[in-house]
Symmetry: C2
Amino acid sequence: MKYTIGIDLGGTNIAAGLVDGDSRLIVKASVPTRASRPWREIAADMAALADRLAKEAGLPFSAVCSIGVGSPGTPDTKRGIILFSGNLGWDRVPVAQELSRLTGKPVLLANDANCAALAEGKAGAGKGLSSLVLVTFGTGIGAGILLDGRIYEGFNFGAGEFGHMVIRSGGEACTCGRKGCWEAYASMTALCRQAGRAALKNPSSALSRLESSGEGLNGRNVFEAAKAGDETARAVVGRFLQYVSEGVVNVVNILQPQAVLIGGALSKEGDYVLAPLRRYARLNAFCRNNTLPRIDCASLGNDAGILGAALLGR
Amino acid sequence: MKYTIGIDLGGTNIAAGLVDGDSRLIVKASVPTRASRPWREIAADMAALADRLAKEAGLPFSAVCSIGVGSPGTPDTKRGIILFSGNLGWDRVPVAQELSRLTGKPVLLANDANCAALAEGKAGAGKGLSSLVLVTFGTGIGAGILLDGRIYEGFNFGAGEFGHMVIRSGGEACTCGRKGCWEAYASMTALCRQAGRAALKNPSSALSRLESSGEGLNGRNVFEAAKAGDETARAVVGRFLQYVSEGVVNVVNILQPQAVLIGGALSKEGDYVLAPLRRYARLNAFCRNNTLPRIDCASLGNDAGILGAALLGR
């Protein structure tokens, strides 16, 4: 049996897991990243975590064939260098080389969203498909593209930024500097902003009560208010899902992958999101020969990053 | 020397050419399509055209290794069937099989926009690149994607419909049934519509004079009026180029190809279009490590379709 280790290097935690030859996650562990430290200390913690995982699985470290690292930002996957990561505050850090030196293993590097897409394609909701796009709706919108069974990252390792696709020319300002990006309309952050505005205009709505409560508005409770029948919340969620759908059908029309998978916090809403999304796609996608890509929720949740990183070495 | 024949099967004309092993177009010829005829007659004309090209080049027909056909609509390139073409009025036509039977040659089929992208990548403005997107701005917006040196067409042969990417949620109606597609804002047809509205509002503008003249508004004379300094035309063209730029940077952020090439009528404006487009891209593309794809005009013009079809067999 060939074992590999996957490390999901986040701005807050380093999460890692040991994966067997059948793409099963055997053991998991994590340590805080403490990203402000010198990067070599972080690499040393990653090496120690790998060692610990093998021990916890009762395996000699020699049974581990390779280590994969999923990193935020833009990694140069050919040279194993993180070119830039805002979350880590890293600029041209040769993390793969260092981790390989410390562990004696081949180390592979990829962007975390791409790792998640790879995992969903090999062992998740897209298992058995050779092409898919995983779109993760959370604080922002992240995406990973899998084509011919492999991560597609463009010539500069930066492809898949569907979140920074303008869907409303001249619209709301995005963190990237453009106006009208999909992320500014269809991320969970955008939903909360839209709900906040609606709450102001409709002081008798459930949204308004939520906002003035200690809880505040989060994506979850905006959806709950809509499901419970609050008119204002229903209108907000309806319009939000229209933005989600417009972007997803853009993905379809541009890439025609076998599947578009919805990940992140939005995927927790399941059929409440999938049903209108599929209906919009059936009516609007540019699929002349009635071959609409599958639209589904991702299935691996937070483990997708670890698993995908572990699969980089396959 | 290996020769191949490329056929650009259009709704109006069947244009064909014989190409040598160095991707040079040796001879060209065309006949009217007369699309309302039975498709077998059209296939017979294609076969006759192939025969005529070899004769005109002074070659025995046995010197032709393969024939490629670029077709409008959605071809099933694996089975050589045109699944659907509105321009031809075809539905599930096995044109490659028939042409192969008539000529005794292997016949390859691909979408015409994809053929043009292949040609630009092998012998045109993108020569030597392994990835590019060719966007053709004309009556509509067509696009072809080249990845790893090969045409990318998605799982259902329909990928690359960047023209039907919503860039203005809730915006103008598109021919595809959605609202706010790039094609509804950045095709030459859209430019004329935008110019027509501006002419109505500004009766003293050059646009208004053009509209009421016999000539009418076309993309070309709107650009000319802007270059000549007409304020209304400048405003129209400036906003139009903003729409063009927004979509091009979407292409960049999504696929990060080595180049985005501008084709069709818009490419005739050269630097007048390229300069603001590149400026917008430098300021707005999501390329963290300063690696912006090349943005250029396509170089093969109308021959791209023929040449790309001829290259399918390589």
